[in-house]
């Protein structure tokens, strides 16, 4: 079952759309689930489908089309490292190598303690801060250096 919190959020979202266009809220609904659980399971997608009165497959199409939805557990903090041109020119590869060395995970993997997952990301439109990564798609951390990464991870460890 979708939690009451998620249902409340979806209901608020639904007010933005005509009554017979409930499926318009599908992207938000997926986001609410991911925000709460960290990832979106098959059951979650089914439930969103029945909540919004749309085919499961249509939910699945959306969920797989967009990169930022995690369809498997991606750790408490998902680090998405941009590897597009600007970031790569500014050392994205080093960022990835450093994270891999430190956490022992590559793209698409999660640390054994479930704290961190790493994903490859596309340009976030914030190239001036390259190289960069986001944390759970919410927090942008730019101008990454090994020191800065240590600092961020230390912070996350505590929280």
């Amino acid at each position: 079952m979708l939690s009451t919190h998620i249902q409340d959020q979806i209901n608020r979202e639904l007010k933005k759309y005509p009554l017979d266009q409930k499926q318009s809220a599908v992207m938000s609904a997926l986001r609410f689930v991911q925000d709460e659980k960290g990832w979106i399971s098959t059951e979650d997608m089914s439930e969103i489908a029945s909540y919004l009165g749309m085919p499961q497959m249509a939910v699945y199409e959306v969920a797989t089309f967009y990169h930022m939805y995690n369809l498997k557990p991606m750790g408490k903090s998902t680090l998405t490292v941009c590897t597009n041109l600007s970031c790569t020119l500014c050392g994205a590869e080093d960022t990835v190598a450093y994270l891999t060395a430190k956490l022992g995970i590559g793209f698409g993997e999660v640390t054994a303690d479930g704290k961190y997952g790493m994903r490859e990301g596309e340009c976030m439109g914030a190239c001036k801060d390259a190289p960069l990564m986001t944390i759970n798609n919410k927090r942008l951390c730019g101008k990454l250096t090994p020191e800065k990464i240590d600092q961020i991870l230390a912070e996350l460890d505590k929280s």
Binding site: T42, M45, S46, P55, Q56, M57, A58, Y60, E61, T64, F65
Partner: protein, 784 residues
């Protein structure tokens, strides 16, 4: 109308139509993949690029509206260059595996690649690979790497089948057609996606690697299943039916067929086929020559006629039999002096016999359904009983029609339903009466005194009022009665009230024909109240057991309204003659088994629910010793000295039966002289609601292996709503015992909120429920 020019040809085309439509009119072929005339426009394959004068670049013909004075070139340098470019792109990821591809030889991509593709590929990099996924027993997606992402299959699901089971997951290079995480494709129309797929990405599982398309001979035929009479092409290799596909007929099945029409052919080659005549002697079955078997039957019938009278013989035929077979069966029976002949095996209310204005039928041509704006559909498992009629209603709804349902089950029709009254079987009549009452007051029409008196004390439920309001607002209304309504013990009351409702709103009123010859059976006079000798109907010959039964492709325990009663009658009879395509339970109670050719092995005629007679020829020779039933009946007629049994073809039989008859004059849905009755009290006990699941409905489909493995063929459960479950102290999944009459069955219980309180739904047509009694009535449910 606007005028445009395509390759120098002037064409007039409707406003709003596309270049593609105009090209069809002008008979100009524009290559295409994603375009399909029955589906929405996606314009994603770009194969249809053409040059339009004054446009700076090529335009997709399927998505470009024709405009006055437009000049289109489909073969100019610009057009051909664009088409060749697109073909090169399409082939980049498409595996070049035509020699081992099931679609090879009938593949649109292969054909067009010959015309527009290069001799060799310039692409040397790795091709995209998609890992195969299972989507059920009927469609294989094993070579999804061949997909060109035209999305025809996806649009078919959304638009025609009413359920989006396939979709395009992921993005760009990773995009792939698949179903929702490991789920199967369950639509009863799913096989059409195989036809629609322009490449070999979706292939027929039962047909895979059975034959190459150029080895097949194609014979036209007509579906023997539901009452629609879908047009078929039966594909034959080595005198064996290996595939069935639709033949387009816009007035009937358009370009679709149901999965039942498509995959039932597997039964034709089943090991259960009866291949030689057999006689039971001293408790053992021995195979005999036809002559011996038929003489045995003739002698038996003669003896019973002499000793007990011909009225002690009864004939029952499946409504899936051909018109000619039904005609000869009744002619034979009447020839020996018995009027006990019927094909309405699942019907239970025969009180309208002889009072009808004609043969009950759809009440309108099939294609008129699409134009209706209001429907009242009573007592119908619409989607499963009439997959393609449901599809037409779905299209009407898409264009704004409202559907109202009065039924005892709230199955998902895969279309928006405006109003529904889900009531127990006992309340069906009174619910319709309420609709009538509400409608009369909205329309301010005075009903006859008789009806008025019945309606006074009736309280109109909310649902009934809404249905009446919806119907009252319609310009072209259809009131349709389904199989359930026709099988109902008060079928005639249901029909009478429905007819009144139809009259009040100027509606077309019709019956959805259950089987291929539901109309044909009446016209063939295979009913006890027609012809020269009258007799007993399908229920009476069981209630008053006869000494001999002649069964034409009937399996009493699965095909009859009351299997319990039917089996008792069979077991107690002196002689039972089974004319059957299959070995079946008859081996237990019959005395003679005569192997009969199924519809692909005989010529014949089906008269569909709209009264259209469609004749067909045999597609293959009868298997082993099997013979067309019309020939068997002819010989029996001769052996029994019945006059007029020397036909030399089934066409001669048909022509005699239809001599001087215009079918349309014989159709009529009005009943006169029926006393209206409304019972408002319901029995205290649980009432049985019976459906005949789509793949249990006739002898052929029951033996079609692949269909039998689908979810629709699961062993029947007992379905109750949650409140009833609680009352009985049961939980979903519990094993329970249901008892009807003197037998019970052990089944599992399932929660289904679509079953009304006071009712319990148990399917018929399956061995697990074959011991139970009538399809309607009360039934006991208890913990096993």
């Amino acid at each position: 109308m606007i005028n445009i020019e395509i390759d120098g040809k002037l064409v007039e085309t409707a406003k709003g139509s596309t270049i593609m439509d105009a090209a069809h009119k002008a008979d100009v072929y524009i290559p295409h993949f994603c375009y399909h005339k029955k589906l929405s426009i996606a314009a994603n394959c770009r194969m249809c690029l053409v040059e339009v004068e004054k446009a700076p670049k090529p335009l997709p013909a399927c998505a470009t509206p024709a405009a006055e004075g437009m000049k289109v070139h489909t073969h100019s340098d610009m057009a051909v260059k664009a088409q060749k470019g697109i073909m090169e792109f399409l082939l980049i990821n498409h595996p070049l595996d035509c020699p081992i591809c099931d679609q090879g030889g009938e593949c649109q991509l292969q054909d067009l690649a010959v015309g527009y593709g290069g001799g060799a590929s310039r692409y040397n990099e790795e091709k995209r690979v998609i890992h195969p996924k299972e989507i059920g027993e009927l469609i294989s997606t094993h070579e999804m790497s061949r997909c060109i992402q035209c999305t025809r299959c996806v649009r078919f699901g959304q638009e025609i089948a009413g359920i989006m089971e396939l979709g395009m997951a992921n993005r760009s290079e990773h995009a792939e057609i698949m179903s929702f995480v490991n789920s199967s494709v369950d639509s009863e129309l799913s096989g059409n996606m195989i036809d629609l797929c322009p490449v070999g990405a979706l292939t027929s599982k039962p047909f895979r690697y059975k034959a190459r398309s150029w080895e097949l001979s194609r014979r036209k035929s007509v579906s023997s299943h539901d009452g629609l009479g879908s047009n078929l092409a039966v594909h034959v290799k080595d005198n064996k039916v290996v595939r069935v596909v639709p033949v387009e007929n816009d007035a009937i099945n358009e370009c679709w067929i149901s999965d039942k029409d498509r995959f039932s052919y597997e039964a034709l080659n089943s090991a259960e086929r009866l291949t030689r005549p057999m006689i039971k002697q001293g408790g053992n079955w021995i195979e005999v020559e036809w002559v011996a078997a038929l003489e045995y039957v003739a002698n038996g019938l003669r003896q019973i006629t002499q000793s007990a009278g011909a009225e002690n013989i009864a004939a029952l035929a499946t409504p899936h039999a051909t018109f000619e077979e039904l005609y000869l069966l009744q002619k034979l029976m009447r020839g020996i002096g018995s009027g006990n002949v019927d094909f309405r095996l699942r019907q239970s209310d025969f009180s309208a016999d002889g009072k009808q204005s004609g043969t009950p039928w759809l009440g309108m041509p099939v294609s008129e359904i699409n134009g209706c704006d209001r429907f009242l559909i009573a007592g119908s498992f619409l989607r499963k009983d009439h997959p393609l009629l449901a599809q037409r209603i779905r299209q009407a709804v898409k264009h704004g029609a409202q559907v109202s349902i009065v039924h005892s089950a709230a199955d998902d029709l895969l279309m928006p339903v405006a109003n529904q009254a889900i009531v127990t079987p006992a309340e069906l009549v009174s619910t319709l009466a309420q609709v009538l009452k509400a409608l009369a007051s909205t329309k301010q029409v005075k009903l006859s005194d008789e009806i008025q008196a019945l309606l006074v004390s009736l309280t109109v439920s909310d649902a009934a009022a809404k249905i009446a309001a919806s119907l009252a607002g319609g310009k072209q209304v259809a009131v349709l009665l389904g199989n359930f309504a026709q099988q109902h013990p008060q079928a005639v009351q249901i029909a009478s009230f429905a007819e009144q409702i139809a009259q009040l709103c100027g509606a077309k009123f019709g019956f959805l024909g259950e089987a291929a010859n539901s109309v044909g059976g009446y016209l063939a006079e295979a009913v006890p109240f027609a012809g020269s000798v009258h007799g007993m109907n399908a229920a009476e010959v069981l209630e008053n057991p006869r000494k001999a039964y002649l069964l034409l492709n009937v399996e009493p325990e699965l095909d009859m309204h009351n299997p319990q009663l039917a089996m008792k009658a069979m077991k107690d009879a002196d002689m039972v003659v089974c004319m059957s395509a299959f070995k079946h339970q008859g081996l237990e109670y019959a005395d003679v088994m005569l192997p009969i050719a199924p519809f692909t092995e005989t010529s014949g005629t089906f008269i569909n629910t709209a009264g259209i007679a469609q004749s067909f020829k045999g597609a293959v020779k009868p298997l082993a010793e099997a013979r067309p039933a019309w020939k068997v009946l002819r010989v029996l007629g001769n052996l029994l000295n019945v006059t007029g049994f020397d036909y030399d073809s089934s066409e001669a039989v048909r022509d005699e039966a239809l001599k001087g008859i215009t079918i349309s004059d014989k159709l009529g849905n009005l009943t006169s002289g029926v006393k209206f009755e409304v019972v408002t009290s319901s029995p205290a006990a649980l009432q049985r609601v019976t459906d005949v699941p789509i793949y249990f409905s006739d002898a052929l489909v029951r033996r079609a292996d692949s269909l039998q493995k689908t979810n629709d063929s699961a062993v029947p459960c007992v379905k109750l709503n949650n409140s009833e479950l609680q009352k009985l102290g049961l939980q979903a999944g519990d094993a329970i015992k249901v008892t009807q009459g003197n037998a019970s069955a052990q089944l599992t219980v399932q929660a289904d909120e679509g079953v009304p309180a006071g009712a319990v739904r148990i399917a018929a047509g399956h061995p697990a429920t074959a011991l139970l009694g009538a399809m309607f009535g009360t039934i006991t449910v208890e913990r096993a």
